[in-house]
Symmetry: C2
Subunit: 475 residues, 2 copies
């Protein structure tokens, strides 16, 4: 494991190539300011020497900083061709970690410049993140790469070959799925520190319990590196940390686009699929699939889900069928209820308008919060059921969230909510937000569509099965 | 074609089994009141005889209404076993159309009661919708079955075997996708009027340009009916009205749930797939796929899309790849730009941070509304491109919507927007709503995810291809 303490919790930061606007180097400063980074920030730009930006003094060069002020982490945001010279200066200051934000390297065919930078880095023992990336986000140390990221540490660790997507993923995760980040690394061209280094870190990091990856290519120069990648992935998944991999490069145009983005070959789709299967890694296809699955793992204890046996509760026959259909399309099982459960339902549900089976259709009685809550509890007690799922498009009132939370507190099995948006209007927005917050606060994941819910639950069950199989073959 | 004028635009309505609460018969009254139905409404319930509900007088029985006041349409919301007697009374009043809301018929094994009702209907020449359904919604005549439905007639006609889902679909369509309804029919158990009758109506209805179907089963008693269904579907699709079919019943539990919901066999999945292919009908799997595709047809003129050739514009390399990847997974093509287009882009995009290819990555320059608009226009002029798609998760400002609308007004090819939600907060909500409204108003469809956009565009292109093939074989 690499010792990344100085990277993730630097005693002081340098931004080389800062400016007055929230672009380029100024972007990083605005992010650190937004999140409230508390350690010293040193800014550099010969053009702004002696001036102040956002209250911080700007220096002309890192040489002006005395040795008694050690900088643990530098962000370089200057044109690519100037990077070697600046890196020499950074090296002489003994800065251990550097993120090179600048683009214009191998992704535009400039391999030579990357080589040169790597040589300088080795000479001074600097570890490089990038180039062509945003570096790291760590809520705990208030190190941020987006003005919307928060300082609440979570369990979800993310490694991304795209800086932009790492921002999208983390912001959706935090602000729409109530799933906070442990650490995030935008790795870019990976000329020095690469995905394997940060996977090794996540393997040991106590805070990271879920690993997410966005990858365009591995940049494997030799087969040994491929084996190493597979090995570390398997070590993580077997240590009960799920790994969610979004690997792009399926189609021809995507492959070409990747070449000009991070400068590497996307590789065969089949090889990646085989690799994922072998390592117990879960494959997803887009931002929402990645984030909604991370949310599922964030809120549900997959070790408690013995089997893929879904209990479904809906208001309305069609709605109950839509949910069942989507689950079955995704290979999930919706077993029959036990006789005891049916009898129990008959004691408090009317004959008219409700259909007592799995999926349970509550009909008009689903509009009564106490009946809704009691139905969840009853489903929880059925031995044929391992997860309880309900869909709630209407009446996201406090009476309902109270009833659901009350049931959840007495339930033994995982509870999942699907709350599809019906109207994009202010009234419904306020109701939805309050409802979501209440449920998130007690650990209920909330999906926005049946499709995303089904995919996430299927993947969660697949991962549990992978672990079971492995443990079985070990005994 | 059936003459459904009195059903869709009744001169007077009867609600038999009304009550004071917005449930049962009272539900229909509250819907008609909400939308502002302007014709007479007669209410019936012996228990409430002489009282008033929502300002309307309640009668004990339909026999009390004089012959000079003809009722075109009656909604019956009383227990199933009482339906035959009431239907006799309705028949004597010469009411031509009746919706039976009541459940408790073949879906719970009560086939005999359905038979009895059908006999009475035939005797009096009454046409029945249902039982076990909600009947019809027609914005033009302000006939509504949900308190959220509006009175703005649209192009999207819907036939649904689930009343609840017909409400979800229409409300999402109207309030989140800016796609209004022409007419909607919740058909229930179809003992008399069935899906074929209403398809025949939609075929001739000038207002309906897009047909949506939610079906659980066909209730085909003989093979002739199956052929008739296929024939009418093909007639509609070939008349350039796309048909979107959401047919459920893929898995075992869904099939069983269907049996207890609408009382029919779901049938083989393969037979339905083959039938759809033959008829040029588009299959979808859930509410959001159905609604987002209806929106695509509502806003885009599919006859203008010569070929499946996508031009993609994004801000950020990863984002551009996500969009390209999703399109290619769905079998869509993202061709190379012409030299002329690339040269044009080079005149106004900087070398740094942007990547000029398809997908176009605008980098930081994508934050400038005028550059964004100019990029759309330039893409539109490329002969290799037939549809222009852009993704916009951030900065949904007025400056941007103005620039996009300005470009759209000069463009010749269809323009599609994907605006994924990042943060579920009030500030972003207000911005999103204003942005969406502005774009919808000039006819730009807005998808909420890359997945739904890709599926809809693929289906739109497939339909165009189906028509091309047919026209080609005709010539």
């Amino acid at each position: 494991m690499n010792d990344f303490e100085k990277l993730f919790d630097p005693k002081a930061i340098a931004i080389i190539g800062v400016n007055e606007k929230p672009y380029g180097g100024g972007y990083f400063l605005s992010c650190l300011k937004s999140i409230g980074f508390e350690k010293p920030i040193y800014l550099f730009n010969p053009r702004l020497k002696g001036e102040k930006v956002l209250g911080y003094r700007v220096y002309g060069s890192i040489r002006e900083i005395g040795g008694e002020r050690p900088i643990d982490y530098a962000i370089i945001a200057i044109p690519a061709k100037k990077c070697p010279q600046i890196l020499e200066e950074v090296g002489k200051k003994k800065v251990p970690f550097v993120t090179i934000f600048s683009s214009g390297f191998s992704e535009v065919g400039n391999k030579y410049l990357e080589q040169k930078i790597l040589e300088i880095a080795k000479k001074y023992n600097i570890r490089i993140i990038g180039p062509n990336c945003l570096g790291v986000y760590n809520p705990k140390s208030k190190l941020s790469i987006s003005r919307w990221q928060n300082s609440v540490p979570g369990k979800f660790g993310l490694i991304s070959q795209s800086g932009g997507l790492s921002i999208n993923i983390s912001n959706i995760s935090i602000h729409s799925y109530s799933t906070n980040i442990s650490k995030l690394i935008s790795i870019g061209n990976q000329i020095d520190l690469n995905v394997i280094d940060f996977l090794s870190y996540f393997k040991e990091d106590d805070q990271t319990k879920i690993v997410g990856l966005y990858l365009e290519n591995l940049k494997v120069e030799n087969p040994r590196e491929g084996k190493e990648f597979l090995k570390i992935l398997k070590e993580i998944t077997l240590s009960e940390k799920p790994v969610i991999l979004w690997k792009v490069g399926y189609g021809e145009s995507a492959k070409e686009a990747i070449l000009s983005h991070t400068g590497g070959m996307a590789g065969s789709h089949k090889i990646w699929k085989d690799m994922a299967k072998q390592a117990g890694v879960i494959l997803v296809n887009n931002t929402l699939e990645l984030v909604s699955l991370a949310m599922a793992f964030n809120f549900l204890d997959f070790r408690k889900i013995e089997r893929n046996k879904l209990g479904i509760i809906a208001v309305g026959g069609g709605s109950s069928i839509e949910l069942t259909e989507e689950m079955e399309i995704n290979g999930l099982k919706v077993p029959a209820l036990s006789k005891k459960t049916k009898d129990k339902y008959q004691t408090f549900l009317p004959d008219v308008n409700t259909i007592i089976r799995n999926p349970l259709d509550l009909g008009g009685d689903g509009l009564m919060p106490n009946i809704f809550g009691k139905s969840l509890l009853t489903m929880d007690q059925d031995p044929n059921i391992s997860i309880v799922i309900f869909i709630k498009p209407y009446y996201l009132t406090k009476a309902f969230s109270d009833a659901i939370i009350n049931a959840k507190n007495q339930m033994k099995k995982p509870l999942v909510c699907i709350a599809p948006k019906i109207r994009d209007n202010l009234e419904d927005f306020h109701e939805r937000i309050a409802f979501k917050k209440a449920l998130f606060d007690v650990g209920i994941p909330i999906f926005e569509s049946v499709d995303l819910a089904a995919k996430a639950i299927k993947n969660l069950c697949n991962y549990t099965e992978f672990l079971d199989k492995h443990n079985h073959s070990q005994n």
